[in-house]
């Protein structure tokens, strides 16, 4: 027993450390990497609980796929964390009090006496919880399982509906639209009174003044 205890506490310490680093570090990439570490150690704890399938799934799905994608996103976005942290200290007292109250309430309700279960009898060595999960997933839980697939399909459709659009810089032309263009779409004829001549006739200026003005203008342009 003592060996598994040592493993558990080691993993738990690493897990807690990683989780705290996720929310305290300033660099989002470091935070994401610590989240990977947290998932990894959590998977280790699940292995200790003999939930092999869940442990492997956590590593494959979260560490392998989700977090890698997440890292890409974090690296591509230019997030200014200082701006996000603005007002942190102003909100801290209020948030701290509420958080503490909630924690105390939860401990009072959930603490100790209700969730003590009888120790589960150990399973034989050749027991495979992957096979067991597969059996219930495709028999007892067939309907929710299929519904989950529909939810995923909707997620794909929704994501495409919301993001797919013709690129603005695309130079491709739609011939049908071009043929349909009417004169009114391109040309706007407006009626307006003819422009008046300036009130001060130019001829009153002397030739030198005009030259000066022209020179000034040219100088400005060359500058």
């Amino acid at each position: 027993m003592i060996f598994t205890d040592i493993i558990f506490y080691t993993l738990a310490t690493i897990l807690l450390f990683a989780a705290i680093r996720v929310i305290t570090t300033r660099n989002p990439v470091v935070a994401a990497l610590h989240l990977v570490l947290a998932f990894f150690t959590a998977a280790g704890i699940w292995l200790l609980l003999e939930a092999e399938f869940l442990a492997i799934a956590l590593v494959l799905v979260y560490v392998g796929a989700v977090m890698v994608l997440f890292l890409f996103v974090v690296m591509m976005l230019d997030i200014n964390l200082d701006k996000l942290r603005e007002g942190f200290w102003d909100y801290l007292p209020m948030a701290g009090i509420i958080g503490l109250l909630m924690a105390v309430e939860m401990v009072m309700v959930l603490g100790g006496k209700f969730f003590i279960s009888a120790k589960m009898p150990p399973k034989p060595a050749d027991y495979s919880n992957t096979a067991e999960l597969g059996r219930v997933l495709y028999s007892d839980y067939l309907l929710p399982f299929e519904l989950a697939s529909v939810v995923l399909l909707v997620a794909i459709v929704a994501a495409i509906v919301l993001t797919l659009r013709d690129r603005k810089e695309s130079k491709s032309m739609n011939a049908a639209d071009q043929v349909l263009v009417k004169k009114a779409d391109r040309l706007r004829i407006i009626s307006m009174p003819s422009e008046q001549m300036p009130a001060e006739p130019i001829s009153t200026r002397s030739a030198e003044q005009t030259n000066e003005l022209v020179n000034k203008h040219v100088n400005k342009e060359t500058k």
């Binding site: 009072m108 309700v109 959930l110 209700f114 969730f115 028999s139 007892d140 839980y141 067939l142 309907l143 929710p144 519904l147 989950a148 529909v150 939810v151 399909l153 909707v154 997620a155 459709v157 929704a158 495409i160 509906v161 919301l162 659009r165």
Partner: protein, 482 residues
């Protein structure tokens, strides 16, 4: 092998909707824009076939499928029929609106059909897992539908708010469910009821789970104090989507409230009664009082929804079969009224113009006496003026609450209903006694005019003869909750 066949026959309406939604997604790719209307026809056909299967597989007893995950009882059948028909009406109302705004795409119909599937699953959920999956399916479709008008900043903001708060509510519901599961050791609704009934002990964990479940439900209904999202989403979403959000999903929310509270957690009735009482009274007060100050019609209807939810909760909290049946009557009446109200907004809107302000209704009687008359019936019904259905619905709900002994709450609700009548009647005043601000022609397709007329007249007709609908609700509730 035989059992899976029986299971599949039980879920025939759902299967129809699912397969047709996917077919529409694919078919839309091969259709020319000029033939896009075919998608609409397909979607309508899907709904009618689903309605047909719902009726044809109807049996007056309770049946289970998929190892007790799915229940097919009269309550589910009646609610499914209402959901399908309500959605079909919504499709009729929104066709022109979507065409004029460039949102008439196959994905719109596919997403709405997926949300209908989600609602049908919720209505038939007999396991907390099935209920949750149905709810997520519905919510996910609604989030993306709100943002369908992508270039509109208001819609995107509404969708974001709806998404974040909705995810929070789903989380709360799930957390509550997990605690109930932890305490009873079962996800099955009926079994939870049995375990709780036998153990007959109340421990704080159960109550904590109940609180989370009630909070999650209240969010989905839009009851105070979880109503913050309602006005913003109603106003920000395209009117056609607001119509969808405001109408049929409430039927599904009602169904899961019945399943979770009345079927599963009935041994804790006294506890959830108190919670519902608080929410009901607050919803009616805040909904009605805030609606008075609104100048935007969609926002006003949002607050009106909140107050209607309050009345609905009055029926639920009375904790009797009679009360549940009156709640069911109320929610069906509410759906009809909402469809008519938003149908009118859609009819008055045209390309580049949204008739969403109260002032846009000014002098409607001079522009179109028939439209004004239909709106008059709708507003009277929402206010609860006899002889419309709204009056009878409020009457039965309050009667049930009175029988359960909530005298003061009922008196308060009646007072608040009188306050609420003010803003509904203000619309009538605007339509009949003010000069019109604009004289644009009201152009709506004939089918929309016809369905809208039938819808509004039904509010009057059902108000005069409520017995049939009331009987259907009573029988459905009675047969499903023994």
């Amino acid at each position: 092998m035989e059992s899976i066949q029986a299971d599949l026959i039980t879920v025939l309406p759902e299967l129809t909707v699912l397969s047709m939604a996917m077919f529409i997604l694919l078919a839309d790719l091969f259709l020319k824009p000029s033939n896009r209307v075919l998608v609409y026809v397909l979607a309508q056909m899907t709904l009618f076939v689903a309605a047909y299967f719902t009726i044809s597989t109807h049996v007056p007893t309770v049946g289970y499928a998929f190892t007790g995950m799915f229940v097919d009882d009269p309550l589910a059948d009646v609610l499914k029929l209402m959901i399908v028909l309500g959605t079909a009406m919504m499709f009729v109302y929104t066709r022109q609106y979507m065409q004029l705004r460039g949102m008439f795409r196959g994905e719109y119909y596919a997403l709405v059909l997926f949300s209908v599937l989600g609602m049908m699953v919720m209505v038939s959920g007999q396991s907390m897992l099935t209920i949750y999956m149905g709810l997520e399916l519905l919510s996910l479709c609604l989030y993306s539908l709100v943002a369908l008008d992508r270039d509109n900043a208001k819609s995107s903001e509404a969708a974001m708010k709806y998404f974040v708060l909705g995810a929070l509510a789903s989380g709360m519901l799930l957390y509550g469910m997990s605690m109930i599961y932890g305490m009873t050791g079962s996800l099955n609704i009926a079994e939870i009821g049995n375990v709780l009934q036998e153990s007959n002990t109340k421990n704080p964990v159960l109550i904590l789970g109940l609180v989370f479940i009630v909070a999650g439900l209240a969010f989905k209904f839009g009851a105070v104090p979880f109503q913050m999202w309602v006005p913003d989403v109603y106003q920000g979403a395209p009117t056609s989507i607001t119509m969808l959000i405001g109408s049929v999903p409430k039927l599904a929310a009602f169904a899961i409230a019945i399943r979770l509270l009345a079927q599963g957690l009935y041994p804790l009735t006294a506890d959830w009664q108190d919670m519902l009482l608080m929410m009901a009274v607050l919803s009616i007060a805040i909904g009605n009082l805030t609606a008075i100050a609104q100048t935007n019609l969609k926002r006003m209807l949002a607050y009106s929804t909140i107050s209607h939810v309050g009345f609905l909760l009055f029926g639920l909290m009375s904790g009797s079969l009679n009360g549940y049946a009156s709640s069911m009557f109320y929610i069906s009446a509410y759906v009809l009224m909402t469809l008519a109200g938003f149908g009118m907004i859609l009819m008055l809107s045209r390309k580049g113009f949204e008739a969403e302000n109260l002032d846009d209704l000014k002098g409607l009687n001079q522009r179109s006496p028939w439209a004004a008359f239909l709106m008059l019936i709708t507003m009277f019904s929402m206010a609860g003026v006899p002889p419309t259905i709204g009056f009878y619905a409020k009457f039965t709900v309050l009667q049930a609450a009175l029988q359960a002994g909530f005298l003061w709450a009922v008196v308060f609700a009646v007072l608040m209903a009188a306050v609420g009548a003010f803003y509904y009647l203000r619309i009538v005043k605007l339509m009949y006694f003010d000069a019109p601000q604009e004289n644009a022609m009201i152009s709506a397709p004939a089918d929309m005019k016809l369905v809208l007329s039938v819808n509004a007249i039904a509010l009057l007709a059902l108000g005069l003869m409520p017995q049939t609908l009331m009987q259907i609700c009573g029988v459905a509730i009675g047969a499903s909750l023994q």
